[in-house]
């Protein structure tokens, strides 16, 4: 066996240029495929982190009817109590109680629909880092009566500046229309264009007063915990304890996200698989050339007594060597590249803006988990073995008497 391994190894270096071309092609292909996977995985991870940390939190608690109808009357009676009991859990980092009113916002220039969210500035800071997204103005400071935080995008559309006045119109608990003026205290930008179009923030107490809610009555409690993986189980157990509430983890709050997270993994593998199939043909082609130009030599080996399984094994080994040099080289380059770009970030520039519109970050930090590296390695192995079979079978078909005579 050793001898055959030695011959196979030396054989692949007989035509150095040809072998190197295949090895480099394999390395580059795998680098591209693996990096693409890393790029998507990084982008998805960022999106998930982003969605959790600045939008949905890990899970949210509502009155069972609230999410269907989004009207102010579906509030939770003793929300402060709910909030406090959730905070007992040692995995919980923070919670934010919110009052939500679907409103019309009117400026001197424009009127449009807005989701007015009443928050406690401190709770919100801890839970979604809203203060970090502030671009202009102050975080609920400097304006005493009805301060409102609008997005930079809204400010452009409604032609608002700091301290501009807007009139918010919404329903109160009795179904009456309430209109109240708010003054812009700050402009924020969340990096997610879709959210920026609809969300405006006011103080929870101001909104409770206008709607007619008591201070302990909220529409929503958002909960941030210390581990993404625990979101579903903690939400699930809380739901069991409180059947009269609706407790939903982030993946169920945004079903589109669940689909995207699951599809992106598959998508990356499809790309790698396509690249590997293309590479498979180039490896097969190279090895077929190698076998056919060595007809006489392989015939001689069989003539002097090398049996078919050894000939098969030798050609298999040659193919595997080619694939298994190129494969790890490609993976290693990809690993380094993902590491580097993962720490530096890739600024998508002009394309980034359209990504941002769709709620993705314009700077992507690629990353790839160990399990993805393992899966890709397995895919390369399968490809290598598949590529090895045909040339090796071709070698077996040679007739030693004819092969030896061929000059």
């Amino acid at each position: 066996m050793n001898q055959i391994t030695k011959i196979a190894w030396r054989n692949i270096w007989r035509n150095r240029v040809r072998s190197l071309v295949v090895i480099i092609a394999l390395a580059l292909g795998l680098w591209a495929g693996t990096f693409t996977s890393g790029f998507y995985e990084g982008m998805m991870k960022q999106k998930v982190d982003d969605v959790i940390q600045s939008e949905l939190s890990h899970f949210q608690v509502h009155d069972t009817a609230f999410r269907d109808e989004l009207i102010v009357t579906h509030f939770m009676e003793d929300a402060t109590e709910i909030q406090r009991s959730i905070e007992q859990n040692s995995n919980v980092i923070s919670t934010s109680g919110r009052v939500i009113a679907t409103s019309m916002m009117a400026s001197a220039n424009k009127t449009g629909g807005v989701k007015l969210i009443g928050i406690d500035p401190e709770e919100e800071k801890r839970t979604t880092q809203l203060d970090q997204k502030l671009q202009e103005g102050a975080y609920f400071e400097g304006i005493k009566r009805n301060p409102i935080l609008v997005s930079r995008k809204m400010a452009e559309e409604y032609k608002l500046k700091l301290r501009s006045k807007v009139v918010m119109t919404f329903q109160d608990l009795n179904g009456e229309i309430v209109a109240s003026s708010f003054r812009v205290v700050g402009l924020y930008s969340s990096g997610n264009g879709m959210l920026d179009e609809v969300n405006a923030y006011a103080r929870r107490s101001d909104l409770q007063g206008l709607i007619g809610l008591a201070p302990e009555q909220y529409h929503q409690v958002a909960v941030l915990i210390d581990d993404h993986q625990l979101a579903e189980s903690i939400a699930g157990s809380y739901q069991e304890q409180h059947p009269h509430l609706e407790v939903l983890p982030w993946l169920d709050l945004a079903p589109g996200m669940r689909y995207m997270v699951e599809a992106s993994g598959t998508f990356a593998y499809i790309i790698v698989a396509i690249i590997l199939i293309a590479l498979l043909f180039s490896v097969v082609n190279t090895m077929l050339m190698a076998v056919l130009e060595r007809t006489r030599e392989i015939g001689m080996l069989m003539a002097v007594g090398m049996n078919k399984s050894k000939v098969f094994f030798m050609i298999m080994l040659e193919t595997l060597f080619l694939s298994l040099i190129g494969g790890p080289v490609g993976l290693l380059i990809a690993f380094g590249f993902i590491r580097y770009t993962g720490s530096q970030g890739i600024d998508l520039g002009a394309i980034g803006e359209s990504y941002a519109e769709m709620g993705f970050s314009a700077v992507v930090y690629p990353q790839l988990g160990l399990s993805s590296y393992i899966s890709i390695t397995l895919m390369v192995l399968v490809m290598a073995i598949l590529a090895a079979i045909y040339p090796a079978r071709k070698a077996l078909k040679l007739n030693p008497a004819e092969a030896v005579r061929k000059i």
Partner: protein, 228 residues
């Protein structure tokens, strides 16, 4: 002591095609242990076909071939390969060494496949390569050797397996006269001193002159069988 090594009976090889070609036609042949025999004849007379069938590289259309009493014609492919490995040495016209192995490794190769142990292998490789006059070229690859030297490695390789006989298909066709004389000296000495049986196909007069038995084929039939 004389012993029958090869015996063919009614051996025929017919190539079907637009015209039926009887490459070997009802050949009865007996070769004894220790012979130094040339099979001669014009091109297309069936020399190589006969040699290939005796060597188990090609199958007869009809008739039988016995090597040391073992019938080859009914063997399966892998049995034949194994039989060749253990009983037959080959020297080819175009040397056919393994290009990526050195002279030493080429000679050792067959013993490795026979699972001969290392000490014995080394001893035998050194003995054989010195017998063919290549002690100083043991670590050269075929591309670094002349045609004559390559063919001598091929002879060493053929003998490494301790075969019942060595088949050489036009072994001198690509060699100059000096290399040919050298190669023939070596083979004649091995035949005389070690009792190795050699069977050549050739139309090289220098080889025919040295043979002790000359079998002439014409159109697949033996037309003369001359002992010297």
């Amino acid at each position: 002591m004389e012993q029958l090594v090869i015996e063919t009976k009614n051996l025929s090889k017919i190539y079907e095609g637009a015209v039926e070609v009887r490459a070997v036609d009802n050949v009865d042949l007996q070769i004894q242990n220790g012979e130094f025999t040339a099979i001669v004849g014009p091109s297309g007379s069936g020399k190589t076909t006969l040699l290939n069938m005796i060597g188990g590289l090609d199958r007869p259309t009809s008739g039988s071939i016995r090597v040391n009493g073992v019938e080859l014609s009914g063997m399966r492919e892998n049995e034949l390969i194994d039989f060749r490995l253990r009983h037959i040495g080959f020297v080819f016209q175009s040397y056919n060494l393994i290009p990526v192995l050195t002279a030493r490794e080429n000679t050792e190769f067959i013993m490795l496949m026979q699972n001969v142990d290392k000490a014995l292998r080394n001893e035998r490789v050194e003995k054989l390569l010195s017998e063919v006059g290549l002690s100083d070229k043991m670590d050269s690859r075929p591309s670094q050797l002349s045609g004559g030297q390559q063919q001598r490695v091929a002879v060493a390789r053929a003998l490494a397996s301790k075969p019942d006989f060595v088949l050489a298909d036009e072994p001198t066709a690509n060699l100059d006269s000096k290399s040919t004389a050298n190669l023939l000296d070596i083979m004649a000495r091995l035949n005389r001193d070690e009792g190795t049986t050699f069977i050549f196909s050739t139309h090289d007069q220098r080889v025919i002159d040295r043979a002790r038995r000359v079998i002439t084929l014409v159109d697949g039939k033996i037309v003369s069988d001359e002992q010297r």
